[in-house]
Amino acid sequence: MHGSVPDPQKSREALLAILQSAPPAPVERRLPGWAVLKRRTGLARGAGGYGLVILLMAAFLLLLLSIAGLMFGSVHIEAGTAVSILLNAVTGDWLISPTWREVHETIILQTRVPRVLLAGCVGATLAVTGMTIQAIVRNPLAGPSILGVSSGAATGAVIVMRWGLLGLGAFTLHISAFLGALATLGIVFWVARTGGQMTPTRLVLAGIAMSSVLSALTSLLVLTSPDPQLASRVLFWTLGGFGSAQWKLLPLPAIALLAGLVIALLQARRLNLLMAGDESAVALGLDVHRFRQAMFVLAAALTGITVSVAGVIGFVGLIMPHIVRFMVGADHRRALPAVALMGASFTIGADLVARTIISPLELPVGIITALVGGPFFIWLLRRDAKGQGSAK
């Protein structure tokens, strides 16, 4: 007895029989029909395969924001010219022949395109990482900064800036930031594990403790430095920015994002189980402690990579998962792809605002994300305090 949606009139015996039935042969396994999909979708008001619609809308939004990001900057380039330059870059001279200044092409292709791509990669990675971390610590109020690796990456960069250690070429600062993140990852991992299992509480406490220590260390390094410019350079790392985007900086974060997204999607089911509670997750077949450790390493590594290329950008990893869960539900199989797209859109948008709102001065991206994310976070807390959501 298998296949169709059960008739509500079915008797208990029949229902029990369904539960006791054997699964169909592999070739007969079919994916659920529209009726089931309709009922599956979560808080989204009633019916509708909201998951797919939202995914498409998010992709479209991403496209719009990306194009907007290419059109604006400290040098004014006509929108039509910008689009023509892009088309020309992709299709060559036979479709559109160049009628613009070569420098405008350089600006668009060498500074704006890598910038938008970097912002998108970083935003998507932060959002996916944030959602993963919220599952790992089983708290939707957590974000990538809670692991301590953001501070570790910033400290790694500041150490190099302070003592002028060079030798790794153009990527010295980025590499040292990543090494700082890795070192912090190791320490937090060790601290959270000693004397017991890596529970969510221990993980959060270890991360917060490391963050505090590293922040103090960074401040100490800056204040005792003979270099008066160190403070403003460090500000970049603590507030984030995409000014250093260039093509040769892109491969690492792009690959990291892809790998991270693939791994996270593969683990989507297991991330769902974590939300049920440690004991229930074990009872449902998950090796909770090993899985949590593995996901922590993944999340921390991805966070380290994003901080090392763009500084600490807050709130993307914290609020995008909330917005996405509100729209498509908490099931990670639907939520992760959506949050990647939304995170990319949000960050590209924030970067656009950051560099145009008081042009030619550029605000750090982290300020924009905090200005949007901070109030939203407060609103979230208040909504939670008033009661656990409401009935449909």
Partner: protein, 331 residues
């Protein structure tokens, strides 16, 4: 009849004239390729850059002092400060790209091939690193005060002038400028011979805790050359937070109020009023230092970053400060 025919004399004359005209070019060609080792970056120049962009006022003034205005495509970061009068006319003929540090996009649009920054924040991760600009085909230079962590005096400034002159293939102009500057310094030193230096505090803002300009800066040397003694010259650092008590204890006779054109990264509309005079007001309002001679007798001198940062105008600063500190030596 003469030993040489008219034709020969004509040819000889033309040849000499040609040599005379070509001499600079030939001399110039002999300077290249020029290797510039600057703050850890080595750049080789095969020819003088044609489209330079400056990222700070002292960089602008240095290039203008060397007569390189034809090689400048744009200037930036003057904010609302005024360039020194001797360069004003020429400065106004050059495009100003931005009141703040020019962005990467502005540099690309200006088709810059040489970017010269006066302070390290011109080449930071948040704006554009030297490596990034290099990838875009622009050569770069950072004023050596930006990566110099020890004492910085006029010899170091002359080295900077020589380097920039070398890059543009005009070493003789560099030497001429150095001679003029050192001549003016010698003149001041002569007038101040036998005069006792007065204690001076160089104030860089800050209300709860004052920021002082310390020993390893050119401004500290400027004060020394002007017959003063930076009360914090013994601190082997560039800038730092000191305390009102220490200032009260060291009893400066004069306070140099140092300010730039921006505050917290924003362009200030009236730097002399808001930052310069504003800082004087802050000093006057502070009870801890009220009995210090500089406050009691209202002995303040305002120095903005055009004169305060290492550049040719630093010598003008020496002259101005010397007259303020020791007016009797200049009657």
């Amino acid at each position: 009849m003469t030993a040489f025919s008219a034709t020969t004399r004509l040819l000889a004359g033309a040849f000499s004239l040609g040599l005379l005209l070509a001499a600079p070019a030939l001399g110039q060609a002999a300077n290249f390729p020029y290797t510039d080792e600057n703050c850890g970056v080595t750049t080789v120049y095969d020819a003088p850059p044609e489209r330079a962009v400056t990222l700070s006022n002292n960089a602008t003034e240095l290039m203008l002092a060397l007569g390189l205005e034809d090689h400048i495509a744009g200037t930036s970061y003057m904010a609302n400060l005024k360039i020194s009068p001797e360069y004003e006319a020429v400065y106004n003929t050059i495009p100003i790209l931005s009141p703040l540090v020019a962005t990467t996009e502005q540099l690309i649009e200006a088709e810059a091939d040489f970017v010269y920054a006066g302070y390290p924040d011109g080449f930071s991760e948040s704006r554009h690193t030297r490596d990034q600009l290099h990838d875009l085909g622009m050569k770069t230079r950072l004023n050596v005060e930006g990566c110099n962590l020890g004492p910085f005096g006029f010899e170091e400034l002359y080295a900077e002038i020589r380097s920039v002159a070398g890059i543009f293939g005009v070493p003789e102009r560099g030497e001429a400028l150095i001679e003029t500057l050192s001549g003016r310094l010698d003149a001041v030193a002569e007038k101040l011979e036998g005069v006792e230096p007065i204690p001076v505090f160089i104030y860089n803002g800050g209300e709860a805790a004052p920021n002082g300009v310390l020993g390893n800066t050119l401004l500290s040397e400027v004060v020394s050359a002007a017959g003063g003694q930076n009360i914090f010259a013994d601190v082997a650092n560039r800038y730092g937070q000191v305390s009102w008590e220490q200032i009260a204890e060291r009893e400066p006779a004069y306070i140099v109020v140092f300010y730039s054109g921006t505050e917290s990264g924003q362009v200030v509309d009236d730097p002399a009023g808001q930052l310069g005079q504003g800082r004087v007001d802050m000093l006057n309002a502070n009870p801890v230092i009220a009995s210090v001679p500089a406050i009691a007798e209202q002995k303040f001198v305002l120095v903005d970053s055009v004169q305060g940062q290492p550049g040719p105008s630093s010598v003008a600063a020496v002259e101005r400060l010397a007259e303020a500190f020791h007016p009797e030596a200049f009657r």
